[in-house]
Symmetry: C2
Subunit: 232 residues, 2 copies
DNA sequence: GCAACAAGTTAATGAGCGTTAACGCGTTTC
DNA sequence: GAAACGCGTTAACGCTCATTAACTTGTTGC
């Protein structure tokens, strides 16, 4: 995580302001003149740096997805194959929260303007997103083996919804400060996952009960809860 | 909850299709001709039913907010003042999930296109949303008195994010069926609230410890954990 | 010193789109 | 039975806006 100290290039300025404006008023709601004005140049001057308005959005969305995925992979790699899945999940959650709190506009764009992309770019972003989700899913299932894959995937999506709710959390001032907010979100995410696993466990217990009763009647052996298969 | 059996009026057809299209491609991303085509009439024919494109969006968003709020108030009223707050919270969660699962496009619009409204309409929608949130906050705080108001509000917003994640849950088929999905979301929401309360409780315990140690030094009595004050 | 280039500028172009105008036509209503 | 009206239609208007053209200017390379 190299902290940059050099001045941001013009491209970066533009991307940052474009992200903010897109998040505020939507991709179609903001004109190129506005983006230009936000960085001190006017309208068509942007075309010296980007092929068009679409290209800016594409670069933003691809960048976000890549950043999330590589960040997640880094944490997985740091944890190694023998690490505590609970610790690893905490690490993933923390990373996602940092991102959600520090780059609210990008989080907003991430699930709001995906459809405005050209087919190729949209496919790429979707693929990156999918890999990021699957990364979480495998960690969650390692920690909560009772969760089947579809349930785990739904749970991960839902927790993303929870963590990505930061833009709705009012402007800084009403909420309890960044550190407390991060801690709150973190515990809620963990609690949500645990509850998801409990739900499945209880359902499976219930089915197990039923199955056992039937077994009693038929006198046939039944295998226990199958361990999750690692990957397809 | 009177179930309608009569045919939908043209206005309702238009609103429904407009909601779907707006959710799919954004307010600015869909033209009036498309909306018209979706209901079998063409372009400007819509102006016999609505003052303009903005009016459709406004009616949709105000309608959603009103529906959520009145639904929530109904459940609170049914529960009465002496009911179990846990049961009431379950009822609120269930109602919200039903809405999120049955009207995904509207849920999407709800937090995506609010800024496209005229000032008056936007203010109205915000006010309705705020009342809905506060309704949840008071119930959550009754169930979890350890949660202070700002934390409870953040928690409610976050759980909304969780429950409103249904549009991201892929098309029906990959996920585990409506009933199971609803049950999963429900338990995750409860788990998230519980975890939020635990977080606060533990923080307060921690502070309490510190306070008690200081007390030991100074020999002064300290009152126990204060019960949550009901309202401001 | 001067071509080459990077990075702007303003003016023009052209498509898309919301809205309005003008008109048609079946169904009420008195 | 005809005036009024509900509900459409197509054509035209006008505005916004992304993109391109043509031109300027400071800086770099040799």
């Amino acid at each position: 995580m190299a902290t940059r100290t050099d001045a941001p290039t013009r491209r970066e300025q533009i991307l940052k302001e474009a992200a903010r404006l897109f998040a505020e008023r939507g991709f179609h709601g903001v004109g190129v003149d506005e983006i230009g004005a936000a960085v001190g140049i006017s309208g068509p001057g942007l075309y010296r740096h980007f092929a068009g308005k679409d290209a800016m959005l594409a670069e933003l969305l691809v960048g976000i997805s890549e950043q999330l995925l590589t960040g997640g992979r880094l944490r997985v790699a740091e944890a190694g194959t023998d690490g505590d899945p609970g610790v690893l999940l905490d690490s993933l959650i923390e990373g996602h929260i940092d991102f959600a709190l520090d780059d609210r506009p990008l989080i907003t764009l991430h699930d709001r303007e995906l459809d405005r992309l050209r087919d190729a770019d949209r496919k790429l972003v979707r693929q990156l997103q999918r890999q990021y989700v699957e990364l979480w899913v495998s960690v969650v299932r390692e920690l909560h083996p009772a969760l089947a894959e579809p349930g785990a995937r739904s749970a991960v999506h839902s927790v993303f919804g929870l963590l990505n709710s930061t833009p709705h959390l009012g402007r800084p001032g009403s909420l309890p400060g960044r550190t407390d907010t991060a801690a709150l979100l973190h515990r809620m995410a963990r609690g949500a996952f645990a509850a998801a696993a409990d739900a499945v466990a209880q359902e499976e217990v219930a089915r197990e009960e039923v199955a056992r009763e039937e077994v009693m009647k038929e006198g046939v052996a039944v295998e226990g809860v199958a361990a999750g298969t690692p990957e397809a």
